[in-house]
Symmetry: D2
Subunit: 278 residues, 4 copies
């Protein structure tokens, strides 16, 4: 008996649910959970099913692809620990939350390494017996620095996600392309607001009554990929921008961990710079 | 071309989605949206599909019932305005919110009448050209008073829902049974807390930092039916219980209107004193 | 016995609380509530006290001004109904919420009139026996249209606030200046995001997971004055932009009514394009 | 130059703010922040001021006590790290959050030790070089077990707070009395709901749409002391009680850490089984 997460997207047309459920039925699979969504604007169909039964993975993929239209993308994933690499700079709140969740067995992931451009968080990471790679950017051009990081990442096999847990350097399109669809970032602001440096100071100057954070996939631009999760906190005039930053950290760590959990459970579809999350 | 909301629940077994989607496919129906849920604890399957196409309603029901197991309940509903009766006492916030939404065209409902045990809200209701039935409880025993209300309600045909928009009298099991599954109440507290009179005073005395409200179907007990919607607001020590009550009204009206909307859109399944909401 | 709201702001210096409380003490006034805040960044002091006792208003102002530094601004306000004018276009959710709250006695305000550039909401407003001034912008240049509105407003005496309850026309600097500090707007987005037309479509396209609304004073730019209140709702991929707009209306009306209430209770200080709210 | 947190409560009477601010003025103290609250129901006055200047602590206390009525309680506290002891059983989410915040320098506290009735969390705690005292309750009567814990705690000097970070044993009145006003607990439910074992199962059975957590001081009863902080999360029918428990942990850890921070900053007054928090 195996359990599979089946993820299908396709241009919408009549009968897709019928076709997929026929395959499940014919292979005598139990549907443990099933979610569908049709985006009418783009005419896209999304379906995520968790099934169990006695079927070979490749056979199931072939059967589904045979019956579905050519536009369909079919993924069949066995639930298992995914391999992740964390990238950080100097702040430890987001990293710490992930390390503690990992320790608590909440995250279905192996943390292969933590990579940083500083050595400040090394002692914390070492406590958890996780490799810490300090790759300083000093005296290096951006491309050189990134090459070193890319090399370090590629020394690991089967990296599923790279989590920017407050990695404060801008990534080049080259880096992003190298790990396309695998990079999750926590943005220190309620996107699409206050893009750029010190968003808390900007929010303070604007006198906002709510602050937030956004976890998103990184595509060509550090702050502009598909949004996975967002949350906010109410504030008032008595908050200095430093207070806002402190409170913001609580939002950031919760939102990033939630986004990571969704990714590890294969719950996210990405399309049109947006996400469908089941 | 007709549009239908198809609501199915059944004891869970393999192939239910397949069977239902086969029927849709065979009748050449488009699935506009589709949601499923299996409650593993009770082994219950729930499915709500919105479909359109060219099929007779009775034929569709028969086709579904023929293919589904005997435990299945099948409803096929044409989207149209539902008939509702509002019951109130003296407070106008929840009533007012419904009247304004109705006026704005947000609610897919005909308000047949507002029934109250006082005449206090008559002038407001009359502004909206809605019948106001003032049925005083004074000098009447509870059973007598309820008989009059039941009679008034039954003078209307096809009443879909009775909305207790701050109706502050306890209903007898007889009344509840008469309109089983049709009565929606807004409870002035975050269930299951502070059951009884003046919950805001109780919450104040307990020093809570959050207050809330709960919309639910009424079954045998005014405060204990299946919960449809809940929401909360944060408060602090500076709130008197009167302040809490004022703020509470804002939660109450929003939660009741949301619950009513879910009911009008046939999104709620009830079972085991709980709701499944798609 | 009179009750006063005393609002003081000044450049911060040692002894301000002492000086103010001395005056209250010397005049034998009870302090019913008292709030202070010092913005260290701008070195500004804010204080709002509610006091009661037997003192002449002018005498109290003079006493406070005599003891406070020259930079101080002193306001002593007797709680009473403020005069407000509502401006709307075609949507009735925000207007309706205010009308119902007014009817419920929740707002300490006289609604002098509702002004609109359309007659669509006239029948609703008339139900509440409130004058409805339909001032069409058709065939008029912006300045001409605004002149008519300004004239209409100035026909009323002692207008305290002009509430833009979804008034969808841009106001000129001239109009804003005419009623400086008196105009409250509800912005259909979580400022500072998605400025401009159809922010819900923009938010949809960006794939946000939270939407919001912002109530603010209007200064030189429709969307950029000091923020009074904000709130948000969580959404997901299944929301079309029309769904987002519908849900957004619920946020808008709640946030606008909250901001209006704060203004009516004289709880807002404005400075540096921000608000301090006690 | 010293900084002090001045906390005063007293039966309310005219002139209290004046008297306190006179002392601050006479001693040439800067008021960095100042908050007051009068509970009209119980006629109690609360004031918390942060001041800096050049004055001896004892002299300041004496001066305040001399001028204030006999009912007044005056505390003058120098901001410094407080000494805390954490008590846990087997779950690490709340403990982990505190350890990480401590590591990040967010908490103004020395963690003297972690005490547990199991050794399960020892390896985590040891990573942070914090003493872990495993005091098993096996084969011990409750009183004996508590005696050992009390002895262990009393081996440390100047313990300011004992934080029950998911300590799952009921404490006797004797224990609570021994550390009266110093014990902070996180309750795995939205008080006052679902008191007792497995509240998530109870909440699940009740079909609630919101879950929450409550941090509170412990008095005579594990779940009934003055509430410090509460928060909630929205859920739906798809949450099993295990899912609710997982999500609940996120609320628990955030709420407990917030409550601890408020305590460490001397922001909490306790009276009438409630808290005033500035």
């Amino acid at each position: 008996m195996s359990q599979y997460r089946v993820l299908i997207d396709a241009n919408d047309e009549k009968g897709l649910v019928h076709k997929v459920s026929s395959i499940f039925y014919n292979y005598n699979l139990n549907i443990l959970s099933n979610s569908e969504f049709v985006d009418k604007e783009s005419n896209k169909f999304f379906m995520r099913s968790v099934v169990d039964g006695d079927v070979d993975k490749k056979e199931l993929i072939t059967a589904l692809e045979d019956i579905l239209p050519e536009t369909a993308s079919v993924k069949v994933i066995e639930p298992k620990k995914k391999n992740i690499i964390l990238m950080v700079t100097k702040e430890l709140h987001a990293l710490g939350d992930i390390l503690i969740r990992h320790e608590a067995g909440e995250l279905d992931a192996n943390i292969l390494a933590v990579i940083s451009n500083y050595d400040k968080l090394e002692s914390l990471v070492k406590k958890f017996d996780i490799p810490y790679l300090s790759i300083s950017h000093e005296n290096l051009e951006r491309a050189q620095h990134e090459s070193k990081i890319i090399e370090a990442i590629n020394n690991f096999e089967d990296v599923d996600y790279i989590v920017l847990a407050k990695y404060m350097r801008i990534l080049t399109p080259h880096f992003v392309e190298e790990f396309a669809g695998k990079i999750i970032n926590i943005h220190h602001s309620f996107l699409p607001a206050f893009i750029g440096a010190n968003p808390y100071k900007q929010a303070y100057d604007r006198g906002v009554k709510i602050i937030g954070a956004t976890a998103h996939f990184v595509n060509n631009n550090l702050d502009e990929g598909p949004i996975i999760a967002q949350d906010v906190k109410h504030i008032n005039h008595a908050y200095s921008w430093q207070d806002m930053q402190k409170l913001g950290r609580d939002v950031e760590k919760v939102v990033l961990s939630r986004a990571l959990k969704l990714a590890l459970e294969d719950r996210i579809f990405v399309y049109a710079n947006k996400t469908v999350i089941f």
